[in-house]
């Protein structure tokens, strides 16, 4: 087995975590020596681990937007199915749009949040090339959006809150997707989400890519994970189209204001969910705990609203969005 490969995997290092790589190497040597001389190096191991954590903390305290893009897209980043597993009980996935197919890039189902029945859905990526392929990297086809809508309507019919997890580069721009009405599928979801009579919470967990993200993200409350992104186009796309220079993705990432902090300032999202030091993948359990707490905190007040108030709440939320001048 290729040992260095394996090391990288367990360490789960992002490209910009190079400084930590060396520290990990040292740590491993210390451990190796320690196991030879039996426990004597324990204190030094502890110190090295602290140093790694401190370095990581420093790095993550000042991530650039394009570094946040890397975290948001990291192959080790927890997926929707993992979050669902950690946050909810008794999850039962429901498949299919009752029209054409079941889209593996979009999952939906019923579950319990503590003891309350809820409907959950989200884009599903994966942790390997194989999973990326099977899930189309979370890029849903029209069927995915139609499945989501079907299950949203189920939620509405039986008065269950909806929680959606957003993690997609965008809706899939394929031949079949166009033939089967990608635009129509997303558009209909937007209108129908606005009219839902049940509490609806959306969480951007990784990549919030354009209409493909928004297609299941019109919650009464929209939250973003600390190191997730949400944007109308990818930094790469923006660079090549607007900057006419594909290499300027970093500049585009800055200019577009796609980080959770930016979007909170713009009032496009309601809350940022903290991630562990080093990002969600460094402690998925703690991350899930944070998400669950945020869901519960936000769900309470929504549950007190009537059907009509829920629709009005959502309408007003999106109605207010936009910045413009008004002359005569």
């Amino acid at each position: 087995m290729a040992k260095p490969e394996q090391k990288k995997n367990t360490r789960r290092l992002l490209p910009f975590e190079k400084p930590i790589e060396e520290l990990y190497d040292k740590l491993e040597k210390l451990k190796a020596v320690g196991s030879e001389v039996k426990m004597e190096m324990n204190e030094e191991v502890r110190l090295m681990e602290k140093r790694i954590e401190a370095t990581r903390r420093d790095i993550f305290a000042k991530l650039s937007p394009s570094q946040i893009v890397q975290v948001a897209r990291f192959i080790q980043r927890p997926t929707t199915l993992e979050y669902i597993d950690m946050i909810f009980d008794d999850f039962l996935e429901l498949h299919g749009d009752r029209n054409f197919s079941d889209d593996p890039a979009m999952i939906a189902g019923v579950a319990k949040l503590d003891r309350r029945s809820v409907v959950v859905m989200g884009h599903q990526k994966g942790h390997s090339t194989k999973e990326y392929l099977a899930r189309n990297l979370g890029m849903a086809n029209p069927e995915g959006y139609r499945k989501a809508l079907r299950v949203m309507r189920l939620a509405e019919r039986y008065n269950k809150p909806i929680i959606s997890f957003i993690d997609t580069p965008g809706a899939y721009p394929g031949l079949g997707a166009e033939e089967r009405g990608q635009a129509e599928a997303i558009a209909k979801n937007l209108r129908e989400m606005a009219e839902l009579t049940v509490p609806f919470i959306s969480i951007i967990t990784g990549e919030g890519g354009s209409g493909g993200a928004l297609g299941i993200a019109m919650g009464n409350k929209v939250m973003m994970m600390e190191f997730s992104i949400y944007s109308v186009i990818s930094p790469e796309g923006c660079a090549s189209i607007l900057f006419r220079d594909a290499t300027r993705a970093n500049d585009a990432a800055v200019a577009m204001k796609i980080t959770s902090k930016d979007l909170l300032e713009l009032n496009v999202i309601d809350e940022i969910i903290k991630e562990p030091i080093g990002g969600a993948h460094n402690d998925p359990q703690l991350t899930a705990k944070n998400i669950k707490a945020a869901i519960l905190r936000n769900l309470g007040p929504l549950l007190a609203l009537s059907h009509h108030e829920l629709i009005a709440d959502r309408y007003n939320k999106y109605r207010k969005m936009g910045i413009y001048n008004e002359g005569n």
Binding site: L190, R191, E195, S210, A255, M256, M321, I323
Partner: protein, 285 residues
């Protein structure tokens, strides 16, 4: 002021150069058709609703031209004409967005990519929005979203049906996330319209893609499309890059969408007004 006054005011100073640019006029009198390549006398083209008399190619129309075709009796009153875009993100790509807005306004004689208003088609009240591809590719930013929402709210208040003529490259990227949010905003407005059981007719014209197709343009009770209009979610180039193959001929054109169940009718420009009137009368009676 009515759109007609506004149109007249801007007309003289702008139309000559603007028309030349939009239509590839090789002088003042003759226009070369994009499709069949034939030279058409500009007056004949205009008299034929800017449809090539030789091959039926539908030239793009500005909102003002469209209004003039639909409301011969000057019955269209613009609402919210004063809304203009602002560079709230201090966004600058190859050009500062603020400057880009200014230039677009000057060049097109328009305040932004949509004109909204209330009018009558024959005896039928209608709240209408008409997009301008000539203003930054008909891209939807905060102004388009806000004017759309206000139009729909006016329709709800007055119990008018809504008709929208779309033409757009999609969201206005210079407004970043805020342009994405206009998809939510406009769709939510249509949700409210629907809740009030007021009809909505969407007319898709060349081209309608991206964030506009994936929001209000696809949501008509009835979707009409002008012939051969490019309509889709992703742009053809993006798709070709994704699937690494050439797109089949006719892909994402109106007739393709008709075949695939996405639009109700492909409607030649000469029949468009009659069709709208028939549909509005159906909904009304």
């Amino acid at each position: 002021m009515s759109i007609h006054d506004w149109f007249k005011r801007k007309k003289l100073q702008k139309e000559a150069e603007y028309t030349r640019e939009r239509l590839d006029i090789p002088g003042n009198l003759w226009v070369k058709c994009y499709k069949c390549g034939q030279a058409i006398f500009a007056k004949d083209l205009m008299a034929n609703l800017k449809v090539c008399p030789k091959c039926g190619y539908h030239f793009k129309l500005t909102a003002a031209e469209r209004i003039a075709q639909l409301f011969p009796k000057n019955s269209f009153k613009e609402i919210n004409p004063g809304l203009t875009s602002t560079n709230f993100l201090k966004f600058s790509d190859t050009k500062d967005y603020g400057k880009r807005i200014e230039d677009s306004m000057l060049k097109s004689g328009l305040n932004d990519a949509i004109v909204t208003g209330l009018g009558k088609l024959d005896d039928l009240d209608v709240a209408m929005g008409l997009m301008n591809f000539s203003f930054m590719g008909g891209s939807m930013g905060s102004v388009v979203g806000e004017k759309f929402a206000r139009l729909v709210e006016a329709a709800v208040e007055k119990k008018f049906p809504v008709v929208i003529f779309s033409t757009s490259g999609g969201a206005r990227m210079q407004e970043s996330i805020m342009s994405l949010m206009q998809m939510a905003k406009t769709s939510a407005a249509l949700g409210r319209l629907r809740e009030n059981r007021l009809p909505y007719i969407s007319v898709l014209t060349d081209p309608t893609t991206g964030g506009v197709s994936a929001s209000f343009a696809m949501l008509g009770d009835v979707n009409l499309a002008e012939p051969n209009a490019l309509i889709g979610f992703a742009g053809p180039r993006v798709i070709e890059q994704t699937i690494r193959q050439k797109l089949p001929p006719g892909f994402q054109r109106s007739e393709f969408l008709l075949e695939h169940g996405m639009v109700d009718r492909v409607c030649e420009r000469k029949d468009l007004r009659d069709t709208l009137v028939k549909l509005l009368r159906f909904f009304k009676d």
